[in-house]
């Protein structure tokens, strides 16, 4: 009887698979992307592609570091917020759930990426198993649930924030040490089976939320992706990576930082030097050089290899409706990767051999160039009048005065009282330099294979569930629950940015179409506004492309952003680019200029860069504040749209190169400026007056003055804050390989 039913089950399964594959094959005909989902194509389908604004990095109350800060939300809330279907309640500075925020314009797609390492613990503490387990009383749950804290029992403000920071340290200390000693928290070490079930229940809830909020009709109004963040932070360094799955067939269990261990810790309950502990190099003592740290630090290749096996090879995949599991991985925040020379931000170590270099290039096609914790494109510091391997003054944008992710996360006290000199940053703290080094590594080490050929996304990394909302005004609610409920209150909060968008050029708003756009890097990032950018490169493009329908030409005769130059047709062929941008007319800030940035490596292995303004006006590099008046009005005009064709007249066919476009808007006041003006009557645009008013505020309203301490900071201050900024977009590069 048992065999019989099993036989029938097999026949039915096989028949379904055959039917499904046949259906897929039929659906596949004439489509430019692989179809892995059985769903209608979108009514609004455009073979020449459309820009879809989305989110690749966002946290909810299921992330431990959000939950400890009284963010009480779920992935469902995030998706509904992004669609404009519901507002979001956030904790106020006292911890009460009183702040209600609503997105100004819905977005098109998004992935919730909660921290995966504590899924088991969160699952228990938030009672995903519904059994009122004794673990609910554990110290871990006290911390994760805000110490069973109640706003009416404790003094307000700093005390709660300090508790949250203490909880953060205690909850992450297990992964602060060398990764081989990573473990779960004792709550899970002592109840592994219950913890596994809780982890599964939480992971299934994340999948269910994504499924429920995904529009599978031909309207294609919103696309969700299932994802999570691997949060490996050994010794306070940043190995964080987001994993985004293509469809509803995902790994049964997230592959996490614990899986990156060189060797597993077999005695996690034993403390001391051989067990869990804080390594000597934590808290500021310089880390050993990369070759040595590799011996004791986590191995991303183990992470890639397990995801390869579990997902791509289908060995541990859920029973989703899609044909196969597929994924991409996106590292973020190289800017705070712990990259003090000679230490390289570990996401960007030289892969130890060619095989691992190939793995890196395949698994990590994108990099996050900007988010709430600052810009990772490049660094030029006006206080030192120098940059990190650059003289590009437009790199003075959303800089953080820290080398480590912990400081930027509001956990440990800030470094660098007078700002950190650019020479203290390893060049690979910034994406442009990483791209340059990729060319160099391809040339010198991996026989032409570039391990760092990553396209661009931007996101928020908000822990407030506010998916896709990046208002550059006093409404911005911070990104970390109670910690920055007053966003300007501390040095490490006022330096946080309002986050940006990941934009894809895709045929339609469906998972398969968007995922393939991400994979082929036809993407750009913005710092929060919805600039539209097109960028194509090709051999011998006509010089008058801007005045023609250049999109079909761009695709037919060249490659879009993220692409590779095809082989050079002749010795005379020259690389030409067309870059066009249109302003966000909802916000209404005009454009200032389009730049093309070229990076290349010469025959001796030296890398170079060049920034070329190809359209628009020069502006005030390095001091956008000059361009706005004291009331935040823009002095002078700008452009609704810009377009240019540019030829690289210095092109040397023997040199590997990349080219990306950066579009700058005209300056606007930063959210912090508007917040300080509105809430405290302090105007950072008038430094002297601002300081006088702050002194008066200390007399009149000392409780406000405490929070306004950094309002008068500007780009000469020890803690750098630009009162005015130039919002921007960065495209994925187009690569030339000799």
């Amino acid at each position: 009887m048992w065999n019989h039913s099993r036989f029938i089950h097999r026949i039915i399964t096989t028949a379904l698979l055959v039917l499904f594959s046949t259906g897929m094959a039929a659906a596949q005909e004439s489509l430019p992307f692989e179809v892995t989902e059985d769903r209608p194509r979108c009514d609004n389908y455009d073979p020449l592609k459309q820009p879809f604004f989305g989110v690749t990095h966002l946290h909810t109350g299921l992330s431990f570091d959000a939950s400890i800060r009284f963010v009480e939300t779920t992935p469902r809330d995030a998706y509904r917020f992004a669609k404009g279907e519901q507002s979001q309640t956030l904790p106020d500075p006292s911890g009460f759930q009183t702040r209600e925020v609503t997105i100004d314009r819905p977005i098109d797609w998004g992935a919730v990426t909660d921290h995966s390492e504590l899924f088991g613990e969160i699952g228990i503490c938030k009672d995903f198993l519904g059994i009122n387990a004794p673990g609910l009383l554990s110290m871990e749950c006290r911390m994760l649930n805000g110490f069973y804290w109640s706003p009416d029992t404790l003094p307000v403000n700093d005390f709660q924030r300090n508790l949250a920071s203490a909880a953060f340290q205690m909850l992450t200390v297990m992964s602060m040490g060398p990764s081989s000693k990573n473990t779960r928290m004792p709550l899970c070490v002592n109840n592994p089976e219950e913890c596994d079930s809780a982890e599964l229940a939480l992971w299934e809830e994340m999948q269910a939320a994504a499924e429920e909020e995904y529009d599978r009709t031909a309207d294609c109004s919103f696309t969700t992706f299932i994802g999570y963040e691997n949060t490996s932070t050994p010794s306070g360094t940043n190995w964080h990576r987001n994993v985004i799955f293509r469809n509803d067939r995902v790994v049964k269990t997230p592959v996490t930082a614990i899986d990156m261990a060189v060797e597993r810790n077999e005695s996690p309950t034993t403390g001391g030097p051989d067990g869990v502990g804080v390594p000597p190099n934590y808290f500021g003592i310089p880390l050993p050089p990369p070759d040595e740290t590799l011996l004791t630090h986590p191995l991303p290749e183990k992470f890639w290899a397990k995801l390869q096996r579990d997902c791509l090879d289908g060995e541990n995949v859920t029973d989703g409706s899609a044909a196969k599991c597929d994924l991409i991985i996106i590292p973020h925040n190289s800017n705070i990767g712990g990259g003090q020379p000679p230490f390289i931000p570990p996401q960007w170590f030289d892969p130890p051999d060619l095989e691992i270099a190939k793995q890196k290039a395949k698994m990590e096609p994108l990099v996050e160039i900007y988010q709430c914790k600052g810009s990772s494109e490049c660094r030029y510091d006006p206080r030192f009048k120098e940059g990190v391997q650059t003289t590009d003054e437009f790199c003075n944008f959303e800089l953080l005065d820290t080398l480590t992710i912990l400081s930027a996360s509001g956990v440990v006290s800030e470094e660098g009282a007078g700002g950190i000199p650019p020479s203290d940053f390893n060049p690979r703290s910034y994406v442009r330099n990483i791209w340059k080094d990729g060319l160099q590594l391809a040339q010198e080490k991996y026989g032409g294979l570039n391990p760092f050929k990553a396209g661009v996304v931007a996101s928020s990394d908000s822990h407030n569930t506010t998916m896709g909302w990046h208002p550059e005004n006093a409404e911005w609610p911070g990104h970390l629950g109670i910690d920055d409920a007053i966003p300007v209150r501390a040095k490490n909060t006022i330096q946080n940015s309002s986050g940006g968008h990941s934009v894809v050029w895709a045929e339609e708003n469906s998972r398969d179409s968007i995922f393939e756009a991400l994979k082929r890097k036809e993407t750009y990032g913005t710092s929060g506004t919805r600039i539209v950018v097109r960028f194509f490169g090709g051999w011998d493009f006509p010089a008058d492309l801007c005045s023609t329908d250049f999109v079909p030409v761009g695709y037919a005769e060249g490659v879009p952003m993220g692409g590779d130059f095809p082989p050079r047709p002749s010795q005379e062929s020259v690389p030409r680019f067309v870059a066009a941008a249109w302003m966000d007319d909802f916000i209404g800030t005009p454009l200032e200029q389009i730049q093309i940035i070229k990076g290349w490596v010469d025959s001796e292995g030296n890398t170079h860069e060049k920034v070329i303004r190809v359209a628009g006006t020069k502006g005030s590099p390095n001091n956008p504040q000059k361009e706005v008046d004291a009331g935040c009005g823009l002095k002078g005009g700008g452009f609704e749209s810009l377009c240019a064709v540019w030829e690289d007249t210095d092109f040397d066919p023997s040199e590997g190169a990349f080219y990306y476009a950066r579009v700058l808007e005209r300056p606007v006041c930063r959210y912090s400026t508007l917040y300080c003006m509105e809430k405290y009557g302090l105007n950072p645009l008038m430094p002297e007056r601002c300081r006088q008013d702050l002194a008066q505020l200390e007399q009149d309203r000392p409780e406000d003055a405490v929070n306004a301490e950094f309002c008068c900071n500007n780009q000469t201050s020890a803690a750098i804050v630009q009162p005015a900024i130039q919002e921007r977009a960065w495209t994925s590069p187009i690569w030339y390989e000799p």
Partner: protein, 320 residues
């Protein structure tokens, strides 16, 4: 009729039934054993002070009464949890035992968890312990809500709820257009005159939408679009375009309408007014919202009942 179908009434009926069974089983005892809930005045004052601290002013009379209501409801739920015996749950006993050991003279004396927990209860420690309070209050409100959340609402109730809450499920208005873009990157200062010239040509020669799109290239946005909501049109053309499109009449050429790309001559094929989809299309969403609403209503109703069953006394004079 709608009153008879009211879910709240159904739950009131169920509650009444339970109460009747209880009375029949226990005779008249409940009337003789009404539990007193004594709320010290300072709890109310604390809550009111917190409110004032948070909003930076004293509460209005209405706000004050809301704050007091909340405090009283919490106390009622706490007492109800004790009546239900939730303090005998493993997780609560653990905590009670733990707090008893904090105050014991000899915390190492061998005793069972239950014994220790009982000591905590005898000493009244549960009244002041935030953890126990939280578990008990959460526990009783969860228990009250749970049966409703597990229910599958019947079809009639679903339909009634859907009828009454259509706005929440309404599909946005849609517009179907064909457009001819006069690309400002191509025409620069001549964009406007080119747009006027083309519109004039289309109108005088009565050119059909399918033919008209051939007059200019299909740059940037596909010239013939399906029926789309404003949000999608905004994404494709920009904000200004959507605002102006609303004024364009159906079945004829309009324009020029500015967008981020230039000026558009637009033919509006038709508009769909905001529409309520068939229940079938949104069934899961409707059910989810309905049962949460029912659970909230039931909790509110049950709280009212419970407050009748207890004598709630606020002890102490209001602070000046």
């Amino acid at each position: 009729m709608s009153v008879i179908k009211s879910p709240a009434l159904h739950f009131l009926f169920i509650g009444g039934l339970i109460f009747t069974v209880y009375v029949l089983k226990n005779g008249n005892e409940p009337w003789d054993e009404r539990t007193q809930i004594v709320i010290p005045r300072y709890r109310i004052d604390l809550a009111l002070n917190e409110f004032a601290g948070k909003v930076g002013r004293q509460p209005t009379p209405e706000e004050e009464s809301n704050v007091i209501e909340t405090v009283v409801n919490q106390e009622v739920l706490f007492q109800y949890a004790l009546d239900l015996g939730l303090h005998r749950e493993k997780v609560t006993e653990e905590r009670l035992a733990q707090i008893a050991s904090f105050v014991e003279e000899n915390p190492h004396e061998p005793k069972t968890k239950s014994e220790r927990a009982q000591e905590a209860l005898d000493l009244g420690l549960h009244h002041g312990d935030m953890v126990v309070r939280r578990i008990l209050i959460d526990g009783s409100s969860r228990l009250i809500r749970a049966p409703v959340l597990l229910r599958i609402p019947d079809e009639e109730m679903m339909e009634a709820y859907y009828r009454e809450n259509q706005d929440a499920f309404r599909l946005p208005a849609e517009t179907r257009i064909t457009h001819v873009l006069v690309n400002s990157l191509k025409y620069g200062d001549g964009t406007e005159s080119r747009a006027d010239e083309l519109l004039n040509k289309i109108r005088t020669e009565n050119i059909s939408p399918d033919e008209a799109v051939k007059l200019e290239g299909g740059a940037f946005v596909s010239p013939s679009l399906p029926s789309l909501p404003d949000k999608e049109i905004d994404r494709l053309f920009g904000h200004r375009f959507v605002k102006n499109l609303a004024l364009a009449p159906e079945g004829e050429w309009s324009g020029p309408i500015p967008s981020r790309y230039g000026l558009h001559l637009v033919y509006v094929h038709g508009r769909k007014e905001p529409a309520v989809p068939p229940l079938e299309d949104v069934r899961a969403k409707v059910r989810r919202r309905l049962i949460h609403k029912l659970a909230d209503e039931w909790l509110a109703l049950r709280l009212q009942q419970l407050r009748q069953e207890y004598d709630v006394i606020i002890e102490g004079a209001p602070s000046s």
